[in-house]
Symmetry: C2
Subunit: 320 residues, 2 copies
Amino acid sequence: MGPGHEFDTIRMLMARWGDLAVDIGDDAAVLPRIEGRQRVISMDACVEEAHFRRAWITSYEVGVRSAAAAISDLAAMGARADAVLLAFVVPDSWQTVLGDLADGIAHVVRASGARIVGGNLSRGDALSITTTVVGSATHVVSRRGAMPGDVLVVTGRLGGPGSALRAWFANREPADWARTRFVDPTPRLAEGEALAAAGAHAMLDISDGLLADARHLAAASGVHLIIDASAVPLGPQIDVPLALSSGEEYELLAALPPDVADRLLLEWPARFHTPLSIVGSVVASDVRGVVEIVGMPASRSGDSGTTRVEFAAGHDHFSR
Amino acid sequence: MGPGHEFDTIRMLMARWGDLAVDIGDDAAVLPRIEGRQRVISMDACVEEAHFRRAWITSYEVGVRSAAAAISDLAAMGARADAVLLAFVVPDSWQTVLGDLADGIAHVVRASGARIVGGNLSRGDALSITTTVVGSATHVVSRRGAMPGDVLVVTGRLGGPGSALRAWFANREPADWARTRFVDPTPRLAEGEALAAAGAHAMLDISDGLLADARHLAAASGVHLIIDASAVPLGPQIDVPLALSSGEEYELLAALPPDVADRLLLEWPARFHTPLSIVGSVVASDVRGVVEIVGMPASRSGDSGTTRVEFAAGHDHFSR
């Protein structure tokens, strides 16, 4: 590698990543062959001000979040993580902390089992990290297969990231649990593969929040979902409305046949630390692309506790 | 798809792209299976101010350039283009012209034979388009296989983009040919596949310019290259120094055995409109990672016309 600031930066990144980065240096990277699995791919961007503020989280945590958010999209397809490519736009003010950021990325990529195989480095006015993740799956699960009779399950306990953001916006420090859920999300790769292998009909991550992503699932599958608010797994000191709306969760929501869910729930605690909860069902209905919330705690105005959320059917994301 | 500004933008993009965009809407896209070919992948970013200025080129041309630059990396590996993912960071000031930009991208992606399978949309202060390209190759060609005895060939006629940039920086309008070469580069996909199939030992695109990328090839292959300046194919009204240094070319530089080059040169004009020229050779030498220029037009100071460029061996790009 020759002299120059760009090459110095790349050398620094390579030194930080060590054997985590492989075959960097050609115009494109060659992906290892996969046998009997389907290749899946996704892109995700993490942009300063749009997705985080520097006052809230450390550079290392920015790296963790950017990689975790991207890899979560593989978990949502029932895929394992094979390869990661990283495109940085770096302002001069970030140069000194780029190494910490690279360490945060490495922490998550290493845990996922993937390798860093390429990327791009540009200068710009605001930091952005655009991550391409490549995975492979024996059983690909899309958002489109939910069927009446399925039950809805969700991993984890919800509300942490929403609680952290609410605190920061109010100029308070978040509670420890909530802050950790925001800054150190764990892509549910093994859980996603288990749900896919068990026969999940549809799955996605709830990066937009449980309610918003349930709408996405209902729309893509063309079905009517019922979510039992009283069954939503809550983090400490989290109320139901916050758990329903909290985004940046990176937990998984899946629709699967009841007998499959029952069997999974039995064996789950021995396999995973993250809880799995039944939160609702898919019902036979003439209205499609709709999410209905039941079991809401009574509001002060004495409403019935049932909310129907209309949502047009169709594709809902350019991609996640 | 539900209401909202982000979804409106995505709907607009989908409408522009029509059948060019497939299977958008899941957390990740499933890539079609490839039989007997190797999967290759690359990322490339196009950032406002860093890579172009709005005063110079139209929104459509920004789209063309961003897609062409990314796909050129597949051509450089001897790969065909299979799939493209696009991550946009879009300032409000670009919203109105995003459609034109999408049309420019579509023009290049369609011509390449690839499909758009996913992406990401974020708001930000400066426009950036980060493109992931996925291809597949029967014969992958890296930068690392050049051997003493090989000849060096280059596609196209050089100097256009450098001439255009020189004009813009001097507040002049570029000549038509030069401007077109900058705003409408063509990834040399078929040429790259032909060079790979013929048995090229090493190849890259000369997006950094012929001399800089010859250095990259010399460094990666650990060889000593000689370039005959008098053999470099020049665009109209382009001088040799400009042709050697002009970047953003997206032509291909390859090292291949002389008999292979001879055979290719014979059949080339019947297969391709873009010329192929022998511009140098790989020589047996104790100095490695070095590019030597011979045949330079005598400068006004009466120099000998031979320049040796030292360049340390090793990997030279985080990725292109």
